[in-house]
Structure formats: structure tokens, C-alpha cells
């Protein structure tokens, strides 16, 4: 919330943080960051994939950290964009919130995992092929 608020301020926008709510003081429009909105589901998906991949723990820790940071960065972009889309049109907000950003986050998570797994295998991890 604070990062989103800070970024909006840096870019010249106006917003007010009220707990987990980001509000536009002019229009009164507000978005709330709930439990499911903090990209926790895709972060768990990434962590599960990283955990299941045969790699040294040092690389896994790197995957957890870097992957989570990347996902959170995308999620901040998502949150700020939804804050502005909602002020423009609620139909577009529903579409972007319910479908578009959800699938973009999953795509992002998949690519982040592939990037990590390709590098992890290059640096000495050998996948166990079950034989």
C-alpha cells in the first residue's frame, strides 16, 4: 500500500492511504487490498514449483526471494492500474480485476519460474527424472 501510494505521489497523482484502503481524495473512489489481492496465490504457486524443482537450497532461496519480489513488483503495477481504471469505468475495473490481471500474473509467474529453472539447471542442478 505504501509503495503504491509513494509511486502515485512521485508520478504526480493524489491518493490517501486509510489502512488497507487507497482512496482518491477528489472522486472518493477507493480500492482495498484484501488477502487475495496481494498476489499470495501466485506466490504460493511459484514457491511450490521452486520447492519441487531439484536444485540446491541456495538457488531455491534465491528463487523464492527474487521471484516473490518480481511478482510483488507486478502486483504493485496491477494495484495502481486498478485504482485508475476504477475511476474511469467500473465495467473495465471488473474485467481488469477479475480476469485480465489474474491471467497476466499467472503468465508472469510461469515465465519467472522458467527463467529461474533454466538458470538453476545451468548452475549445477540435475533434475531427477525418476530413473
Amino acid at each position: 500500500m505504501k509503495v503504491s501510494h509513494g509511486l502515485i505521489g512521485i508520478c504526480g497523482g493524489h491518493a490517501r492511504v486509510e489502512g488497507a484502503v487507497l482512496r482518491d481524495p477528489a472522486t472518493g473512489f477507493a480500492v482495498e487490498m484484501r488477502d487475495g489481492c496481494n498476489a499470495v496465490n501466485v506466490t504460493i504457486l511459484l514457491w511450490s514449483a521452486v520447492l519441487a524443482f531439484p536444485a540446491p537450497w541456495r538457488l531455491k532461496a534465491l528463487g523464492f526471494l527474487a521471484g516473490s519480489l518480481l511478482i510483488q513488483a507486478v502486483n504493485i503495477v496491477r494495484f495502481i492500474s486498478l485504482f485508475y481504471i476504477g475511476q474511469y469505468s467500473m465495467t473495465w475495473f471488473d474485467f481488469a480485476h477479475g480476469y485480465l490481471w489474474e491471467s497476466l500474473l499467472v503468465l508472469d509467474t510461469m515465465v519467472v519460474f522458467c527463467l529461474w529453472a533454466n538458470r538453476a539447471s545451468k548452475y549445477g542442478a540435475v533434475p531427477n527424472d525418476g530413473r
Binding site: 496465490n41 480476469y99 489474474e102 491471467s103 499467472v106 503468465l107 515465465v111 522458467c114 533454466n118 539447471s121
Partner: protein, 241 residues
């Protein structure tokens, strides 16, 4: 770094296609797909869950979907009744907005497959995967309907804590997880090129006790039978160990 380039390109192309195709789906494709989904649900729902006496699914004037699911429930006796109430089927409505999720996987799948390099080579996986995703969406809708019917029945006949938890978890998976996540593994499983380009972690790893990938047989390499010398060279180090 060069191995990351195709992934970066895929991410950019995939994101752009996701935006385009999802907008196309939201404004143009949603109604025809819902129409097809309702007819498919009617056919398969009647076969699997429903009975022939009444339509399995109908559309209400407000656009919501009305279902009738056969379910044997014994409701506890109410003060004004002489005995327990036997229920044979449950009727309930599902908001149209809730059913949208069961058509959403198709544009996501198309975006992933079309983001892979080589559109011509993607045609077969596109068709095959579309059929798979369509089947999955019908199955998910039927599971969702069954769970909703059991949830409605729970208001009449209370369920155990485990059953409630299991139904709630199942509903979460069917509505919020599988439609969003399934297009990705399906695309990877039907599109060999996409899989080989992005899942490179199996490359160059030693195969325990087997042949080395670089020492393919002469016949496999150029279609000619191998000489004795070649065969000895191919077999040498692996046999010695």
C-alpha cells in the same frame, strides 16, 4: 542471457495477446461462448447429473442460469410437519457473472499458444488444445453445479465440518484456481516447441548408465548402417563402466 531472450519475447508477446484476446472475449466472444457452454452443459449435465423430466439448465429473464440437480436429501422434521422431508432434487440459480469464468480459459490458452514462435506450427496444438480446454470448462462447470447443489442442500440438512471444508475448498479450486492456471500446463503439454523452448532444464544433463546424447548411432544420424569401428567407439566408455 541468450537463453532468456525467447522467454522475455514470449512474456511481451503473451502479455499483449492476453490483453487483446481477453478484450475481444469480454466484448464479443462472451455471449456466443456462454450460449455454447449452456447447450453443452444441458447435454452432458442431463447425461451425468440430471434427469430427463426437466431441463438441467435454463436461462432466467435476468440472464442468470437456473439449474435442477437430482439429489436425495432427508431434511429434519419441522414443528409443523408430521415427519422428515424427503427431497429429490435441488433448484438454484447461478448469477451470469459467475458462469463467465467457465469460458475464460479459452482466450488465455489461445494467447499463450499464439505467443509461441511460428504461428503455422501452432495451428495443430491450437485446435487440439482448444478441444481439451473446452472439455475442461464443461467438466468444471458440472463440478461447480454439483458443489452448489450440495451447498444448497446443506441449508436443509446440516453437514459435518469436514464436508463443508471440502466443498468450500473444491469450489475455490474450480472457480478461482483451475480456470486461471489450467491453460498454461495444457499449452505446454500440447505445444512441443513451446515446451522445448522454455523448459530447458532437462538439456545437457547426464543420463545415468545410458548412452550419451552426443553419441547417437550412425543409422540415426545419417540413415546409413554403422561400421564396426564406429559401433566399438559408440559403445566403448559406457560398457567399460
Amino acid at each position: 542471457m541468450t537463453a532468456d531472450k525467447p522467454l522475455a519475447r514470449f512474456l511481451v508477446r503473451g502479455s499483449a495477446l492476453l490483453i487483446l484476446l481477453l478484450v475481444f472475449w469480454w466484448f464479443l466472444l462472451l455471449n456466443p461462448l456462454l450460449f455454447l457452454l449452456r447447450d453443452s452443459a444441458e447435454i452432458f449435465g442431463t447425461l451425468i447429473l440430471g434427469d430427463d423430466s426437466r431441463q438441467f439448465v435454463t436461462e432466467t429473464p435476468s440472464g442468470d442460469w437456473s439449474f435442477r440437480v437430482p439429489l436425495e436429501v432427508v431434511a429434519p422434521r419441522l414443528p409443523q410437519q408430521s415427519g422428515p422431508l424427503q427431497i429429490h432434487s435441488i433448484d438454484f440459480d447461478i448469477a451470469r457473472s459467475d458462469v463467465n469464468a467457465f469460458t475464460f480459459s479459452l482466450p488465455v490458452f489461445w494467447a499463450i499458444v499464439l505467443a509461441a514462435p511460428g504461428i503455422r506450427r501452432s495451428l495443430r496444438p491450437l485446435i487440439f488444445g482448444t478441444i481439451l480446454v473446452a472439455i475442461l470448462e464443461i467438466v468444471l462447470l458440472l463440478i461447480f453445479v454439483e458443489i452448489s447443489a450440495r451447498n444448497a442442500a446443506a441449508q436443509l440438512a446440516p453437514q459435518s465440518g469436514w464436508t463443508k471444508w471440502f466443498l468450500h475448498f473444491g469450489e475455490y479450486l474450480v472457480v478461482n484456481v483451475i480456470p486461471y492456471a489450467a491453460p498454461f500446463p495444457i499449452a505446454l503439454s500440447v505445444h512441443r516447441e513451446l515446451r522445448s523452448q522454455f523448459c530447458r532444464w532437462g538439456e545437457g544433463t547426464p543420463i545415468p548408465g545410458g548412452r550419451r546424447p552426443g553419441l547417437q548411432s550412425g543409422a540415426a544420424r545419417n540413415g546409413r548402417p554403422r561400421s564396426k569401428k564406429q559401433r566399438r567407439r559408440d559403445m566403448g566408455p559406457a560398457r567399460q563402466s
